[in-house]
Amino acid sequence: MAIEGVDLMKAAAFIGAGLAMGFGAIGPGVGEGYAAGKACEAIGRNPEEAGLLTRTMLVGQAVSESTGIYSLVIALLLLFVV
């Protein structure tokens, strides 16, 4: 089986999709963990406000997660469109 230009392009797209997802997941992972840690600290200091803090934390995490989601979209584009 000879490897042609189309196969090389497919291979590059798959490698790119893996790299995009892997590197793209670092940022949201670190950021959301940091946010959760800070929320735990705040709840420890002020347990009555746990509901409000949890809600705010979840919304903030969901917004900052969108960068990871963008990398997922890029990975999907590379997998299925290229």
Partner: protein, 229 residues
């Protein structure tokens, strides 16, 4: 991609609408969500009593909670747009949860559905702006100082279109990713209950993404209501 089995598509194929149902799976499933919401609303409001029973008090709790959540951010004048916010929340939430049932598909796991929802929010934001400020709504786009106005106009217009993109792609990516992960885990080790933790996470993601979409819509509405700086 392999062939997926969806109950609704099979039922519609039996009725002779198979071609449409196979091509527009998200539309067919969003009809189902609309049916669930309409029938649910009809059943819940049929026997409204002063002292609520179980189902009525739960529905009241949901609506009351959403209304408090909205009024906290926009102030009492935002109550006029509460029906839109509550509809969008319930629609997205039910759509997200539908994808967790085997044999069904989340309408929100398709970019067309989420983009149409985001465009509704976009349109209503500017309708609110024009309604509250009239011609002065232009000031929202011109920034604080006159010399910078042409630059700010371009930036603000790009920003408003970026809102549509981020709203739609965030919801689509989350729900689509969830569906894909559940599918892959079912394929790999479905017999050993591997997708179970992800299914639990899916319930959480469904609620949080519905909440985030509505929260951002509320914030955009509040931004259009306030005076230009």
């Amino acid at each position: 991609m392999e062939h997926h089995y969806y109950f609704l598509v099979e039922i519609l194929s039996g009725l002779g609408l198979g071609h449409f149902a196979h091509g527009f799976i998200h539309v067919v499933h969003s009809w189902l969500v609309i049916c669930i919401l309409v029938v649910g609303a009809f059943l819940l409001t049929k026997h409204v009593q002063l002292v609520p029973r179980k189902a009525q008090s739960m529905a009241e709790m949901i609506v009351q909670g959403l209304e408090d959540f909205m009024v906290e951010i926009t102030g009492p004048e935002g109550r006029a747009f509460f029906p839109y916010i509550a509809t969008v929340f319930l629609y997205i939430f039910i759509s997200n949860l539908l994808g967790l049932v085997p044999g069904f598909f989340s309408p929100t796991a398709n970019l067309n559905t989420t983009l149409s929802l985001a465009l509704c929010t976009f349109g209503l934001t500017h309708y609110i702006g024009v309604k509250y400020h009239g011609k002065k709504y232009v000031k929202h786009f011109l920034g604080p100082a006159w010399p910078l106005a042409p630059l700010m106009l371009v930036i603000e217009i790009i920003g408003h279109f970026a809102r549509v993109m981020s709203l739609s792609i965030r919801l689509f990516g989350n729900i689509f990713g969830k569906e894909k992960i559940i599918g892959i885990l079912f394929g790999l080790a479905g017999m050993y209950l591997a997708p179970l933790p992800i299914l639990f996470l899916g319930i959480l993601v469904s609620l949080i993404q519905a909440l985030v979409f509505t929260l951002l819509s509320i914030i955009y509405f509040a931004g259009a209501m306030e005076e230009a700086h």
